[in-house]
Each structure stands twice: as structure tokens, then as C-alpha cells.
Amino acid sequence: MARVVVDVMPKPEILDPQGQAVAKALPRLGFEGVIEVRQGKRFELEVDDSVDDETLTKIAADLLANTVIEDFTVRRLDA
């Protein structure tokens, strides 16, 4: 059994309305000094030992991320 994290973030050149909404809100709440915010998704998976890295990448690319507008990274938490 392994724990896997897949991080999915909007591509840098793609508009990120979510991150912008947070970035704009912060100064209004009195938090200064945050220059940029980007918001993405984090998936935590618990997988059988039968699931190899290739499969994980495929899961991320096919289902978890929309590769037209998002990038992703996959990593196992404990080997």
C-alpha cells in the first residue's frame, strides 16, 4: 500500500481566476506582502502496491488534470 499525492496547477500562462480572487482579497483583510497566488488541486490517493508509476501518471493525465490548461506532478509519500 502506498500514499500518493497528485498536485494539479493551472498552467502559468493560463488565467487563474481563483488565485486572483484570493490575491485580491488578502490586502482587504489586512494581509500585505502576498505578491501572487495560484490555486490548484491536491489529490491524495491510497493505492495497492500493484499500481506502478506509469499507471499513476496515466491516472493523473487522463482524469485528475485537464492537460489542456493544467500541469501536474505525481509523487509517492512513502516508498
Binding site: E13, L15, N66, I69
Partner: protein
């Protein structure tokens, strides 16, 4: 790095330019050189190439669309306040109210990225309506997909529906109707046509033009980023080859991400600006972004325009003038404002937290001049960009197989048991099943003025709360009929939309359309197109209501196989009191008499 300024272009007349990659033909590029008397700069080339594209210039359809104008009589025109040539058609519906409506396609983007493609399609048509000075009041969507059980439809359909809903719901516009059709020709090329309707007081009608020397050009709304500049990045990598910041731009996806919240705020901000009476002219930024907005405003105005690109607020680093001019970043508008009103304008924008920047002014030079880092990068006669693009008389040829399509076939008289089977098959077919899965994702109640929505034949909204005056709308098309006979098929679409509006109790008054066809370079497709336009226009004459605007979408095909010819027709009707609407359906009370009209 050197900027490709006008001076630089004059000094380097023989520089090879990637005009083909930008979609321009040899003779089109030659014409640009003739117009300018030199080679275009990168920025000018970017501008001409997007503005002379099929999508923006209507170069293949113009000669045919003229038939609408030719056939519209004075009588038909009598209620029309703005027609073909404006952002959207406007009709007078009485009591001092004007209503504006239009359909637009977002087919290709919705195939690439269904959610964002459909969402930004809704966003674009809503800005068109806003640019007329109206408050957007409702949306509709006419959708076509491949077979419902095809794997790709399972990718495209949920995304498109979520996108239409996600954007429209968040804008607070009720969705009051539309269509969902399945046919295998749409598998690799779904159709996403969005309609928006808005209303204003007659005196508040705004037209897109930049007039009055000295008036300021203000860009407001979202920042400009690298969205949707796909093709134009060829220029960036050529000019700055090896430059870190621009490397890899060739691979930019030409996908735009919508921000409905920004658009909602933009709507409220625009309406407040209109109320304050401080807008001389206004234009939305859609396809072709700033290229389109600046050249169209200047071209429709009475002078010239000077724009300073350094002032455009950017979202990405290292953008070139060509990229800034072609960016299709969403949720932006461009306004012309008297110098004395600029402060008031900025104040309204600040109230709504909308970024607004003065980027230039109206001049009396008759030219559109754009500067960047103190150098002139664009110096063109605006009409040559916006209104005097190429016009094609493409070959038209009735397809040979058209005869066989129309061969009458003898159908045996069905037996009772066949009928039972047939009814069951029809009830179970995807084209006749409930649309609830789609319409349940759309807010039909917001604004509190929706009188009819799904599953009614037409959507109806109340415009005036006191008097109850309202409008009814329907969009329809049957592509299979149009394939069999595009002339009659277009008329059937018109007749269906007209009937749907009429049976709700409203009087039909105006027509809009979205003509979705295959490649205009295919003479058979051009024949379908010509027939459909003629059928629609002639039908309008018979019914006595004008076409007030529309949109053409060509190149809808997979390989060489075109979609079914799909001229989507929208009809607008007026009802003086929505309380007298006639709901769809029978059997409200026992003992009702059922009558069949017509033969």
C-alpha cells in the same frame, strides 16, 4: 531586442514574413503591402491576419449575406433600431423599450476544451449585448453533439453543459431554452451556439464608434494575457528567437479561461456608466481582441485613433505588441469617453473594483496609430483592417448526390405492432428524450422575470415589471432537413421558431441566426450556404419580420466530411402582458377539447 516598428519595416522591406502561418494568402499579403506602401510590421501583420480571417471578416459569406439586406423591406425594417453591421440587432418593442438579441457560435474552442470553450462562448455573446447599451437578461444555448453513447461525446457534452451553466449561472442570467441534438456528423465537431437577449430604454442605445477628436479610449475589465494568441506566437518566436521569455510560445494552447465573476462585475459597472451618460462609444473585446476593438471603433468613427500599447495592463511578462494586439483574454471592454468625463468614468470603475486604463485617444488623422516603447508599430487606415477586408465569390456547386438524397422512397404502410415498436424506439431515442439532465444544470429563475423556460416551446421573460410587457424567444434547426434541401430546411427552422414563439402568446417581430456549415472552399458546402441564406431571407419576407443580425461559422467538419448544414434560427416575439402567456401542455383540466390546426 529590436521592435519591428514602422521605421524598421521601411528599412527592411525584404524581411520574409510568416504570413502563411498566420492564415493569409499570397494575394492578401500583397494587398496589405499595397495598402501600406511597405511591408507590414509584425504588429500590423498580426492585426490584418486576425481581422481578415474568415471568422472576423466574413470574407466568404459577405456576398451571400447581402441578400438579407436586399430583401428587407421598409415595412419589415420599421421596428428595427439597429441591424446587420452592429454588435447585435435591436428592435423597438413598444412602451419605450428596446430589445437586443444575438446568437454566436463557439464550436471549435468547445471541442478543444469543452468547459472553457462553452463558458467563454456565453461570455462573448453577453458582452456583445452589453456593448449595445443593454442589460443582458437571459441566455439560451443550441447544442449539437455526436451520438450520445460515443466516448468523445461523453467527454464533450458534460463539459459543454457545465460550462454553459457555470458561466451563465454565475453571471445571474436565467437560461430560458435551447436545443440538444445528436448526430454522427457532429462527433468531431460539436456545435455550441449561445444566444443572449437584453433590454434597454430606447434612448440608451449605444453604438460602437469612436468619434470626437480628443476623446479618450479606455480599456477596462480583465488584464491582457497570453490567451488565445495561438497563431500569432509564430511572430514572437521569429522576432526573438532564442529569447528565454518567449521560448516555447509556439506551443501555447489557444484556449481561454473564463472568469464569470469579473464579467458580472463588468456588466454592473457598464450599466452604471451608461446610467451616468458618460460613454460616447463602446465595444466588447472578443475574437481578435484589441486589434478588433481599436480598428472597429476607429473605422466606425469619424477620425483616427492613437493607442499607446505600453499602457495596456498585462498579465504575462515579455509580451510583444503583436501578442498584446491579438490576445483574446476575456472579460474586457473598450470605451470612448470625453476628457471631461474620464474622472467620473474611473470613479465608477473603482467602485466596482474594475481595472480601467486610458490607452489612447481619438485623433483627426484618419489613421489608426499604435505606439510601443515610443516607436510606432502600427500606422494603418482603420477601414482597411475592419471593414474593407477581402471578399470572396467562392465557387458554388450543387452536390451531385443531392438528387439521390431527394429520391422518393416507397415506405410500406406499418402494421399496428410496428407502430408500437416505433413509438417505443422514438420515446427511447436520444434526440427525443428528456433534456432534464442538461437543463437541471441551468438556473432558470434568477432575476425573477422568467415566465416560461424549459420545457416550454419558447422561453419568455418579463421586461417591464409594471406593465408586464415581455419577450419570447425560440432557437431551432433541423440539420437533416437542411441536408435534404437547405432552402426549405432553413425555412422550416424559421417556421418552427416562429411557431414556438407564436404559440406562447407572443407576436414574432425579429430574427437572428447562426449559420454553421462546413468548409467554404467546398463548392457543395457553399451551395448549401447560399440556399439556406436565400431560404431564410425569403421566408422572412413571407412572414414580414427582418433578420437583425447573426453569425457565420464555417469549417465545421472532420477531415473532408462536413457537418449537416445547420442554420440555427432564433425568433424574438413581443407580448404586451406576460400574464396572458399560453403555457405548453395539455390536460390542465378534465374535459378540455383537443383541436388539430393545419393539415
Amino acid at each position: 531586442m529590436t521592435t519591428d516598428s514602422v521605421k524598421h519595416a521601411e528599412a527592411t522591406p525584404d524581411t520574409a514574413q510568416p504570413y502563411k502561418e498566420l492564415g493569409l494568402k499570397d494575394d492578401e499579403y500583397q494587398r496589405i503591402r499595397e495598402i501600406l506602401g511597405r511591408r507590414p510590421t509584425d504588429a500590423e501583420l498580426a492585426m490584418y491576419s486576425v481581422m481578415w480571417s474568415e471568422h472576423c471578416s466574413y470574407k466568404s459569406s459577405k456576398v451571400h449575406l447581402a441578400y438579407f439586406g436586399k430583401t428587407t423591406t421598409e415595412q419589415m425594417r420599421s421596428k428595427m433600431l439597429a441591424g446587420i453591421g452592429e454588435n447585435a440587432g435591436v428592435v423597438d418593442i413598444g412602451d419605450g423599450w428596446a430589445v437586443t438579441f444575438k446568437v454566436e457560435s463557439h464550436n471549435h474552442p468547445s471541442y478543444v476544451e469543452p468547459y472553457q470553450g462553452a463558458a467563454t462562448g456565453v461570455g462573448g455573446i453577453v458582452r456583445d449585448i452589453m456593448a449595445m447599451g443593454a442589460r443582458p437578461l437571459a441566455v439560451m444555448d443550441s447544442l449539437r453533439f455526436g451520438p450520445a453513447d460515443a466516448p468523445d461525446t461523453r467527454r464533450v457534452l458534460p463539459g459543454v453543459v457545465a460550462g454553459v451553466g457555470g458561466y451563465g449561472n454565475c453571471l445571474g442570467l436565467p437560461n430560458i431554452g435551447g436545443e440538444v441534438v445528436f448526430d454522427s456528423t457532429y462527433l468531431g465537431n460539436p456545435l455550441v451556439n449561445a444566444l443572449c437577449v437584453g433590454a434597454m430604454r430606447v434612448e440608451d442605445l449605444h453604438l460602437a464608434h469612436a468619434s470626437g477628436t480628443g476623446n479618450k479610449i479606455i480599456l477596462f475589465g480583465a488584464r491582457t494575457g497570453l490567451d488565445g494568441i495561438g497563431g500569432v506566437s509564430v511572430l514572437a518566436s521569429d522576432t526573438f528567437s532564442g529569447d528565454e521569455t518567449t521560448a516555447g510560445r509556439k506551443k501555447l494552447p489557444s484556449v481561454q479561461v473564463g472568469d464569470p465573476f469579473t464579467e458580472k462585475v463588468l456588466i454592473e459597472c457598464c450599466l452604471e456608466l451608461f446610467r451616468e451618460g458618460i460613454v460616447v462609444g463602446i465595444q466588447d473585446l472578443g475574437g481578435a481582441g484589441l486589434s478588433c476593438a481599436t480598428s472597429e471603433l476607429a473605422s466606425a468613427g469619424d477620425g483616427g485613433m492613437h493607442v499607446n500599447l505600453d499602457r495596456v495592463p498585462l498579465r504575462a511578462k515579455g509580451m510583444t505588441p503583436a501578442e498584446i494586439l491579438s490576445s483574446e483574454s476575456q472579460e474586457r471592454m473598450c470605451a470612448v469617453v470625453k476628457p471631461s468625463d474620464v474622472d467620473a468614468f474611473m470613479k465608477v470603475c473603482a467602485k466596482w473594483d474594475v481595472t480601467a486604463t486610458e490607452i489612447g485617444e481619438v485623433t483627426d488623422t484618419g489613421r489608426l496609430v499604435i505606439t510601443w516603447h515610443d516607436e510606432v508599430v502600427v500606422d494603418v487606415p482603420p477601414r482597411t483592417v475592419a471593414h474593407e477586408g477581402p471578399v470572396y465569390n467562392r465557387p458554388v456547386q450543387r452536390p451531385v448526390e443531392q438528387d439521390s438524397l431527394q429520391q422518393p422512397i416507397e415506405l410500406p404502410r406499418p402494421s399496428t405492432s410496428d407502430l408500437r415498436d416505433l413509438v417505443l424506439r422514438m420515446v427511447g431515442s436520444h434526440n427525443l428524450s428528456s433534456r432534464g439532465w442538461v437543463t437541471d444544470q441551468y438556473d432558470r429563475y434568477v432575476r425573477g422575470g422568467t415566465v416560461l423556460a424549459q420545457p416550454s416551446d419558447s422561453g419568455m421573460i418579463r421586461i417591464d415589471e409594471e406593465s408586464g410587457r415581455g419577450v419570447s424567444l425560440s432557437v431551432d434547426c433541423n440539420g437533416r432537413y437542411c441536408k435534404l434541401d437547405p432552402y426549405a430546411g432553413a425555412q422550416l427552422a424559421l417556421a418552427e421558431a416562429y411557431r414556438n414563439v407564436a404559440v406562447s402568446g407572443a407576436t414574432p417581430v425579429a430574427v437572428t441566426n447562426c449559420l454553421n456549415f462546413g468548409s467554404p472552399e467546398d463548392p457543395g458546402v457553399m451551395w448549401q450556404f447560399e440556399q439556406a441564406v436565400r431560404g431564410l431571407a425569403d421566408g422572412c419576407v413571407t412572414l414580414g419580420i427582418p433578420v437583425t443580425g447573426g453569425n457565420v461559422s464555417f469549417y465545421n467538419q472532420t477531415g473532408t466530411t462536413a457537418i449537416l448544414p445547420t442554420p440555427v434560427v432564433g425568433v424574438l416575439g413581443v407580448i404586451d402582458d406576460v400574464r396572458r402567456r399560453i403555457p405548453t401542455g395539455i390536460g390542465a383540466e378534465a374535459g378540455e377539447t383537443l383541436l388539430l390546426l393545419g393539415n
